[in-house]
Structures are given as structure tokens and as C-alpha cells.
Amino acid sequence: MNLTLKVWRQKNTADQGGFKEYKISGISEDMSFLEMLDVLNEDLSTKGEDPVHFDHDCREGICGMCSLYIDGKPHGPQQTTTCQLHMRSFSDGDVITIEPWRAKAFPVLKDLVVNRSAFDRIIQAGGYVSVNTGGVPDANEIPIPKSIADLAMDAAQCIGCGACVAACKNASAMLFTSAKISQLALLPQGQVERKIRAEKMVAQMDAEGFGACTNTGACEAECPKGISITNIARMNREYFSAVVSSDSV
């Protein structure tokens, strides 16, 4: 198929940036979206033009590195990662608009590449169980009901891509943050630090400049891993019970 691409080009963080249009032909529907961009980049490179920069690594939907805002939706029309989006979702003659994630907390580094270190800092604020290596009990010592383990796993599947932030009109990071808080709040291993974790992670989230949640559910609808907004409700409960009863933070 033949396509027209409107791609956001921006030299670096300081640059203003703007859209540039490219025509591309000979795209097969078996290609992934990123392979389509590879074709564009081979083209540009051969012509001596700077290729379009975008983040990607595993190309199998798990590392969370790919992050394109396609036709007004994070990761495009399907509820999947950009790397798992295939060209069979488009038709000949389509005009496709490609932008980076837009959020104050995710500054653009170049073209479609953004800086998502804010997510790392939220995890650093408390997204862990404070155990050192060694000296832990046998893995089967604490039985965990299957239903609880499964729920925790559902939350733990988050790949940290940031689509939830990109989807939200307030650029809120509630879905991301709540997924980790939920996972650890559900499991017995996470109980000891349950309160302090919720407080610290929420505080960091706010400090990074992510917006407030207004419950529109856009994040859940766009999450490539289907992380549920029930996690946000759980986080809110965790958070409020923490601030009510704790004296820290």
C-alpha cells in the first residue's frame, strides 16, 4: 500500500519542532508499524536525510520502549504496543499522523523519543519490597491464594511504556503508579511497607509534574497490557488509609 506520513520532527529538547510529510510506498500488511518506519528510514538515509528517531527495542510488546502517538492514540488504533501494531490495521491511501508522547513530565529528546525517567523515580520512591539478597524464607513458606496471585500478576504486567500518561488529558500517571502499588499491596510480601509505599510513590508522582486523575478511563482503554483502573481505586484506598493513619511524609 501507499501511505502519507505526517511525522513530528524535532532536533532536540530545545527545538520547537513541527510536522513533516513523507510519502511511502510498497508497504505490505504483514509489516509491523515499526518495520514500516524502517522502510521510511532506509529511504531517508539513502537520500542523506536524517532518519526519524523513535524508541524501540524488543519489538515483541514487552520492553515498553516503543512509544508512538499514532492518529491521536497512544500506540495507534489497536490496544497493543506500537511494535505489535501491524500494517493490516491500515489501508492504502491512509494519511497517518505520528507524534511523540505529550506530557510535561516526558520531555521530547528528539523527534519521537521522549525521556521517561520520571517513571523510574516513582519506582525508586517505593516500588519494592525492602529485602536484601539472601536470608529470605523458603518460597513455599507463605501460601498465596491463586486468585490473589493472579490479580497481582495482572497488575504486575505493566510494561512502563507511558501510554496511560499519553492517553490522559491531564497526563496523569495514576495507572502506572497504581499498578505497582496494587501488585505489592495484594501480596503478603508487600504488607510491611504497604502504607509508606503508597504515600511515597504518590508524592513522587505529584513531584514529577504528572496531572490529576479525573476518572475518564482513557488510560485503561489505551493500555496495551490491559491494566485495569480498579488498580487506581485500590491505590486511592491504600493512599487514604495510609495518610489517615500514618505520621510519616
Partner: protein, 644 residues
């Protein structure tokens, strides 16, 4: 140089315990006086960085991705082995050790592998304590599944995302140490060289991938946890960014490279669909628990199928050849990866392949769905089935999956001794970046085990032994050796940018990949390898005279990143070919057509090749020198591997 593996004396089961007692310790108050650099934040790197920081060392952790959480360990699907024997099915440390040695076709060290099996049990405990949500039974205890090359159920898993969950566990431990100020993170940073001072590794030179800044970092020891080099084949299941650069630069600074040609070709990947293909996607080996591998019994039926004259579901039972079950009745579809891959190649070479290119076999769940119901299969493999459908457009609940082998893992890597130290003092290699535990073929669910074993439970002990014997005096990153390395790195970048030729970096990478796949892939021969060597030399020359790297250094420049990596792959490719040529036997993933049994199985030559090949770099343009570390088997009897 005599390669001293430093395997401790004593009975197999006591070696590690004795060694831990005998190594020197760094006093707790002194640990903060030592700095350790960790390159790579996958399972090995993240677990090592976190554990060393917990002990009190100052750690700097580097990764080329935008976050340490994205390292390619995250993509491992199936599971992690551990000799817990929770299933009461006869597993033990010795059995895991034995399966691993046998699975590796007797080309790994007994001592290392036994230690791996021993610490496997601690890994599971550690991960559970971190909050890794492993799959569980209704009673609340941990669930297990089986993997290839084993007759017990010892694989722990978290849906089809075990690597992700284990990595996020290690990443959380790492994040905690970042918060504690014991680890400093350097994301989007690529290691460009190792710096040695007085023969010891004292730091690295890096390139900031956003600004292009070339910087030096000094330390008392350097850990390379930089993964494997499967991307030398261009098409592989590795992430796009996975590369050999760190390991290769270390090699050129004096670290021996061991068994470079030992490559694992994974049997169950989604077949190539066209020239645009940028990477191959693995379908977890766990699928072979329930999926049956087959092709039509005759070439004629396959041909009709390829032409679309018949549909797969119309093929009658008697016209289906379940070739693995037929040839290997006791292991069936669960034979080790090398055996499964080779057999898929055989049937396709016979013209019985099932897709348009003729390079695919079926992996069929029809019988499993009939037996257990669609819901059960969905619960076990749902996300894998969805992924398959997403990529191919086919629904595997209705038609069998199509699979074909693809490059997945490299057993070869930097040579290390029992302490995981390379031939450069103070330079360590962990996880897939080293060569040590999988011999000539790695068993499924053992990569995660090894990465975490090295990082959580081996290096914290062995690094102390080295540091305790070395002064804690710090060295300035302005030391002349660092300055010299910085200049070399900058010159190389300049050179790449100044060629301004006509061909893109990918052009060269694809060409190299094709040479490697055709001549140094699933089957190798003296004739083919000799040809490949000449072709790679030629290609390397062309690269350095005709590659076009756009943009400049002082910016985010993905073509420059790629060019820098491909330049190293070109050199590595030649060494892999040399290694494959020098090993006149077949073993595990290394299959030399000249050396096979009448049934087409790998024919080892234990008398002449029971050794590790460790290659020493002698200088640009020179042939490398082969050093041999003999492998001694005191506990296991070497036999022809049989999975019949």
C-alpha cells in the same frame, strides 16, 4: 597463557561451600571504599548491582536503554528452572546439574554447573520475597511446568512473562539502592571501551547517547552483564539494540572470547514473512508441553498446502508426520532445542515445509484443546496465542501455529573462571555475556536461572576475594589511560562519520546476517565456513569504505549507534567462523555436517575436542590465537546424548 579455571578442589557437592569459606572478605566498613561498575541492567546486571550495593559497595550501573527495566531479559517468556523438587517427581540438585551438563552436550564445566544447580533454589526464594507473582496452584503453593531436555517439572513461571517479572523484581531491588544512594544510574549510555591500568580493569569509557559526550568512569572492578550477540545474524529473537560491543571491546583489550560459535537456534519462532523483517519473535518453548510438532508425511501434500490447494485441517491423521514423537519416543516434543531445530530443518530440506517459503513446520494444539478444553489452554498460553495472532493474523485455536527455528541465544561469550573473572584481572562477565554454564546448548528456562545466579549469589562472594587483595585507592578518570581510551573512541566515531559512503548501516548488517545464517547457522561445513570467512573480510572492507552514517556525534544519533555496533559484529562474525572451523566435531548447537551419526545426530569427538576454545586477540588484521581449557569430567560419564 595457561587458562586456570580456578575450580575449587574437593567433591563436587562441596566445592562451592568450601570456596565461599576460603575466599577473602572485605570488611563491612571497608566496602564503601570500593567502587564497582556494572554494565547492563538485565537479570545479571540488575541483580549484581543491587546485591553489591546492599553489601555496601558503591555501584554505577549503565544501560543503553532509556530505563534499566527494559533490558532484554524482560522478553524471556517460559520460565526459570530450580531444583526445588516441590513436585515430588524425583528432582534434585544433582539431577538439574546432570540434565544441564548433558543438555549442553558435555561442553560445560562440572564445577560451574553444579554451583548453578545449587543456588537455583535460593533464586526462587529471593524472587518470591521481592513480590514476584509466580503462578500458583489452588492450594496457594507454587506451580511448575516442564521444559525441554528434562523429565521432571522444575520450571517456575509467571504466565508467559517470566523474564519480565524476574527482571522487574531485580529492577525493584536496584531501584531501592538508587533511592539509598548506593547505585548511580546511567541510562541511555553506551560503553565504548574498558580501561586497564597496570593490567587491571579500572573503568570504562562511555558515550552519552543523548548528547554524544564521551566520558570516563573509574572503579575498582568492572562487571560486564551485557547479554549475548545473537544479533550478529541480523534476524534473531534478540531486541534490536542487543549488541556485542562491550564484550568485544573487552576482548580487544585482552579478555579471551570462549566458544564464540556456540549459538542456540530456538525451534519455536514465528517464521520469516518477508524482506522487511526486522526481528523474529519467539514462541515460548513451554508450548511444546501441549503442542505437537508435525509436517505432512509427503512432499506432495506439502506442495499442495503451500499452493493453497488444500487446507491444513483437511490433512488426514495418517498423512501427518509427528516427526519428533516418531524419532524420539521418550522425550517426544520436549527434546532439547538443538535437536528440535535440526529436525525441523531436515523435514523442510526434504521439501515438507508448510508455508510459502517452505521454511515452517506446524505446532498444533488441536489434540490438547480436545483433551483439556479451550479454556485450559487459554489459561496456560492465552497471551502467547494472542501475540501469535497479532503478528500473523492467524487464530491458533483454529489452525495450527507455524514455527521455524531462529537464532535466540549465544552460549559462547567472554571466558571466565569459576569466580566469573575474565582474563583481565578485575573485569568480570556475568549472565549471557560469559560462556560458562551451558556448554554447547542451553536448556530452556536456564538462562534466567544463570543470570540471576551470577548476579545474586555468585558475584557478591567472588568479587570480595579480588577486592580484598587490591588496594582501595581510587584512580582519577583523568588518568592518561582514560584519556588515551577517550581519544581512541572519539577517533573511531570520527572515522565512522567521515566515510560518507553510499550504503546504509542496515545494508551491511543484513548482509552479514545472511552470511552467518547460511554458513554458520544450523548446519556448518568446512567448505561453507571457508567461503564465509572470505565474504566477511570483504564485507568488512566495504563497510569501512562505503558506509553512510548520517548526522554528527553531539546529538541523539541512532545511525551512529548502529554503525558502531555493526562494526563490532563484523569482527565477531569472522571469529565465530574461525571457531566453527576449528572445531572438527559436532556438539549441541554446533553442527558440522561432516560429523554426524548415521541417524543425523551430532557426533562429538571427546578425545580431541573436550575443551573450551578461548580466543586471544593479537592485533588488528591478525588471526586470533586459540587457547584450550581442557574439560575434566569426574562425575558424569560422557555418552552419546540420547533422547529416544
Amino acid at each position: 597463557m595457561i587458562l586456570d579455571s580456578k575450580i575449587p578442589e574437593g567433591p563436587l557437592a562441596e566445592k562451592w561451600t568450601n570456596h565461599k569459606f576460603n575466599v577473602k572478605l572485605v570488611n563491612p566498613a571497608n566496602k564503601r571504599k570500593y567502587d564497582v561498575i556494572v554494565v547492563g541492567t538485565g537479570l545479571a546486571g540488575a541483580s549484581a548491582a543491587a546485591s553489591l550495593a546492599e553489601l555496601g559497595y558503591n555501584v554505577k550501573a549503565f544501560c543503553f536503554q532509556d530505563s534499566p527495566r527494559r533490558a532484554h531479559s524482560i522478553a524471556a517468556q517460559g520460565g526459570i528452572n530450580a531444583a526445588k523438587n516441590y513436585q515430588n517427581d524425583g528432582d534434585s540438585v544433582y539431577r538439574l546439574f546432570y540434565d544441564t551438563i548433558k543438555g549442553g552436550d558435555y561442553r560445560a564445566r562440572e564445577g560451574n554447573v553444579y554451583r548453578l544447580a545449587q543456588v537455583s533454589v535460593n533464586i526462587i526464594d529471593q524472587c518470591v520475597a521481592q513480590g514476584v507473582p509466580f503462578a500458583r496452584e489452588y492450594g496457594g503453593l507454587l506451580a511448575n511446568r516442564s521444559f525441554g531436555g528434562a523429565q521432571v517439572s522444575r520450571t517456575f513461571y509467571a504466565k508467559g512473562q517470566t523474564g519480565q517479572q524476574l527482571l522487574l523484581g531485580a529492577y525493584s531491588a536496584l531501584s531501592r539502592q538508587v533511592a539509598n544512594g548506593k547505585v548511580k544510574l546511567y541510562p541511555r549510555t553506551e560503553m565504548m571501551d574498558v580501561v586497564t591500568v597496570d593490567g587491571k580493569a579500572r573503568g570504562i569509557v562511555t558515550r552519552n547517547l543523548v548528547t554524544g559526550a564521551i566520558e570516563s568512569h573509574s572503579a575498582h572492578a568492572v562487571l560486564l552483564c551485557t547479554g549475548g550477540y545473537g544479533n550478529v545474524f541480523f534476524l534473531s529473537t534478540n531486541a534490536m539494540g542487543s549488541n556485542v560491543t562491550a564484550a568485544w571491546r573487552a576482548h580487544k583489550k585482552g579478555a579471551y572470547f570462549a566458544n564464540p560459535s556456540f549459538t542456540q537456534i530456538h525451534p519455536t519462532c514465528i517464521p520469516v514473512s518477508g524482506d522487511h523483517q526486522s526481528k523474529l519473535t519467539l514462541m515460548s518453548e513451554s508450548l511444546r508441553n501441549d503442542g505437537r510438532v508435525w509436517v505432512p508425511a509427503t512432499k506432495e501434500i506439502s506442495e499442495k498446502l503451500r499452493k493453497g490447494q488444500i487446507k491444513v485441517n483437511d490433512i488426514k491423521e495418517e498423512d501427518r508426520d509427528y516427526f519428533l514423537e516418531r524419532k524420539y519416543p521418550s522425550f517426544g516434543n520436549l527434546v532439547p532445542r538443538d535437536v528440535a531445530s535440526r529436525n525441523a530443518k531436515y523435514v523442510c530440506d526434504e521439501g515438507r515445509g508448510v508455508n510459502e517459503t517452505g521454511e515452517a513446520v506446524f505446532l498444533d494444539f488441536r489434540d490438547a484443546i480436545k483433551r483439556d478444553g479451550e479454556d485450559t489452554i487459554k489459561a496456560k498460553y492465552g497471551n502467547l496465542f494472542d501475540m501469535y495472532q497479532q503478528i500473523t493474523g492467524d487464530n491458533p485455536y483454529q489452525v495450527p501455529m507455524m514455527i521455524y527455528p531462529a537464532v535466540h541465544y549465544t552460549m559462547g561469550g567472554l571466558w571466565v573462571d569459576y569466580n566469573l573473572m575474565t582474563t583481565i584481572p578485575g573485569l568480570y562477565a556475568l549472565g549471557e555475556a560469559n560462556f560458562s554454564d551451558h556448554g554447547a546448548n542451553r536448556l530452556g528456562a536456564s538462562a534466567l536461572m544463570q543470570g540471576l545466579a551470577d548476579g545474586y549469589f555468585v558475584i557478591p562472594y567472588t568479587i570480595g576475594d579480588y577486592l580484598a587483595q587490591n588496594s582501595n585507592e581510587r584512580i582519577s578518570p583523568d588518568h592518561p589511560e582514560f584519556k588515551k581510551a577517550e581519544v581512541e573512541v572519539s577517533e573511531r566515531i570520527e572515522k565512522l562519520l567521515s566515510i560518507k559512503g553510499e550504503k546504509t548501516v542496515d545494508f551491511f548488517h543484513k548482509k552479514l546476517g545472511k552470511i552467518m545464517w547460511d554458513y554458520c547457522g544450523m548446519a556448518r561445513s568446512e567448505e561453507g565456513l571457508t567461503k564465509a570467512k572470505a565474504m566477511i573480510k570483504e564485507l568488512k572492507k566495504e563497510f569501512w569504505s562505503n558506509v553512510n552514517v548520517l548526522g554528527g556525534n553531539e546529538e541523539l544519533n541512532q545511525s551512529l549507534e548502529k554503525a558502531n555496533r555493526v562494526a563490532d559484529f563484523l569482527e565477531l562474525g569472522e571469529l565465530m567462523v574461525d571457531d566453527a572451523l576449528s572445531r572438527n566435531e559436532s556438539c549441541g548447537g554446533h553442527f558440522r555436517e561432516e560429523y554426524q551419526t548415521p541417524e543425523g545426530e551430532a557426533l562429538r569427538d571427546d578425545e580431541n575436542f573436550a575443551f573450551v576454545s578461548a580466543w586471544k586477540f593479537l592485533g588488528e588484521g591478525q588471526e586470533e590465537e586459540l587457547n584450550k581449557e581442557p574439560l575434566e569430567f569426574e562425575n558424569v560419564k560422557l555418552t552419546q546424548r540420547s533422547y529416544k
